[in-house]
Amino acid sequence: MSDPILSVEGLQVNYGRVEAVRNVSFEVAAGSLVTLVGANGAGKTSVLNAVSGLLRARQGVIRFKGQDITKWPAHRLVKAGLVQVPEGREILGTLTVAENLSLGGWHRGSTLHKNVAGVYERFPVLFERRKLQAGALSGGEQQMLSIARALIAEPEILLLDEPSMGLAPLIVDEVFAVIEEIRLTGTTVVLVEQNARRALAAADFGYVLETGEITHSGPAHELLADEKVIEAYLGLD
């Protein structure tokens, strides 16, 4: 990888005195799909939140497009094109679908309408339900809304935190199809998943996180073929 769009070096994240993440380093090439997999509590969300500026890194350097963004606040990163789709979707349940979408374009005044129209075209179900309270949508629809809302912010890199969590297998297929499409438009994707097999199958490159540290990394298809990795870290499903 010559010039990674995102690089993390020696990241440490603490919650109070508890170390959640230790000495984590990884790189994401522009246009690629990179996944961080690992069990619940391995520190995947902490890594993602530190990159997104929602958590302060205790140590380490995070770079985005060559700039040191370690101390940047979340709103500045969103404006710069680093956008997260958070765990648990975090849609605003009492606002309508349309209002949720327009919040995605907080920093995109002039292109907001065009972006919303584009998203409605891709997700007709959101167009149909645009006047409904977002809390009334099904889990799968809420996940689509959360992804769509992030797309309206025009991400150069999209960080997805457990997008398949709590969804029926058929809906998970849809979510992964959407991720594949996003990636085909040239947007770089970082995918954090417990569903490791699924994530590695979709990704170019993978990192395995265990209790706050990276234990394995490599091209995703190699990790997927590595019996030791599968047995020890990914479990049998």
Binding site: S52, L54, P73, A74, H75, L77, V78, K79, V83, Q84, P86, E90, I91, L92, G93, T94, L95, L103, G104, W106, H107, G135, R149, A153
Partner: protein, 291 residues
């Protein structure tokens, strides 16, 4: 009619104070107990400005608005932001805002002493006008116009502006707001600035109404404002407005028909009654949060 109007004048001041109080609560989920000290500070600093500079009322109000806004930003920075990450942030903020208020009152006492202060007697000519058979002073009408227009501006801001959209998003889900790229810190501090600006102006209007300000006026109003926002529905702006007006009218009627010692009895009795009939308050919003 006379009594009713007097009640409305008084109530509009309560409402203005309460609306600032409830704004911070409704949007940031924090009770700012320094709000009473801001009210007192607004009154005393307002008197100081008029005494020293002799400015007319239309210039005084914007100056006090700015003063209050600055105080609000300080309150957010000093009493609330450093505690934001704690899981007991609600309670910690409550205590630290009481401390901030106490410090502010001590400063005011050091600067202006503990005596009652008044506006210079000659600056506001006591013109009287007749409305619907009742005699009111022009000053009272001006007070009402100022407080009502400020409340209208605030309500518009929260309902229609981009800032207001940000505020409502933070009210619903502060984490989601941060993920979406809203500058949560700045919007929070603007919320405090607006709240305190209104609180400080309420102090000036209250003082103009009775032409006396002492260090204790904030505390007298604070409990009433809490009653008002509970009755109106915690966090509801129209609730604070209507609640304030009801309290003002109830107080004036109680003083006149029952006796001044019954004033608080009636006011807080009303609070109990409304809460028994409508536990969520008049305009209580059902707070549903996504799990």
């Amino acid at each position: 009619m006379q009594l009713f109007l007097d009640g409305i004048f008084l109530g509009s001041i309560y409402a203005l104070f309460a609306i600032g109080f409830t704004l911070v609560f409704g949007i940031l989920d924090r009770l700012n107990l320094a709000h009473a000290a801001v009210f007192t500070a607004g009154a005393l600093v307002g008197i100081e400005i008029v005494t020293r500079l002799g400015v007319p009322i239309w210039l005084l109000i914007p100056m006090v608005l700015v003063f209050g806004a600055v105080l609000g930003i300080l309150i957010e920075r000093i009493a609330f932001r450093p505690l934001a990450g704690r899981h007991d942030a609600h309670f910690a903020g409550l205590i630290s805002s009481i401390a901030f208020g106490a410090i502010l009152l001590s400063l005011l006492q050091a600067m202006y002493g503990a005596d009652t202060r008044r506006f210079p007697a000659d600056i506001f000519t006591p013109t009287r006008v007749e409305i619907l058979g009742a005699t009111v002073s022009l000053l009272q009408v001006v007070i009402l116009i100022i407080s009502v227009s400020l409340m209208i501006v605030l309500t518009w801001l929260v309902a229609k502006s981009k800032l207001g959209r940000g505020m409502r998003t933070i009210a619903e889900n502060p984490h989601a707001a941060a993920v979406l790229g809203l500058n949560v810190g700045r919007i929070s501090s603007t919320t405090f600035a607006l709240s305190s600006a209104l609180g400080a102006v309420a102090g000036v209007l209250f003082t103009l109404n009775v032409n006396a300000a002492s260090l204790g006026i904030g505390h007298a109003v604070e409990l009433k404002a809490l009653a008002v926002i509970v009755v109106g529905g915690m966090g509801s702006l129209p609730g604070a407005l209507i609640g304030g007006l009801i309290l003002g009218v109830a107080e004036v009627l109680a003083v006149n028909y029952i006796g001044s010692s019954w004033r608080d009895m009636v006011a807080f009795g009303l609070l109990f009654l409304i809460l028994i009939l409508r536990p969520q308050g008049l305009f209580g919003a059902r707070k549903t949060r996504e799990v």
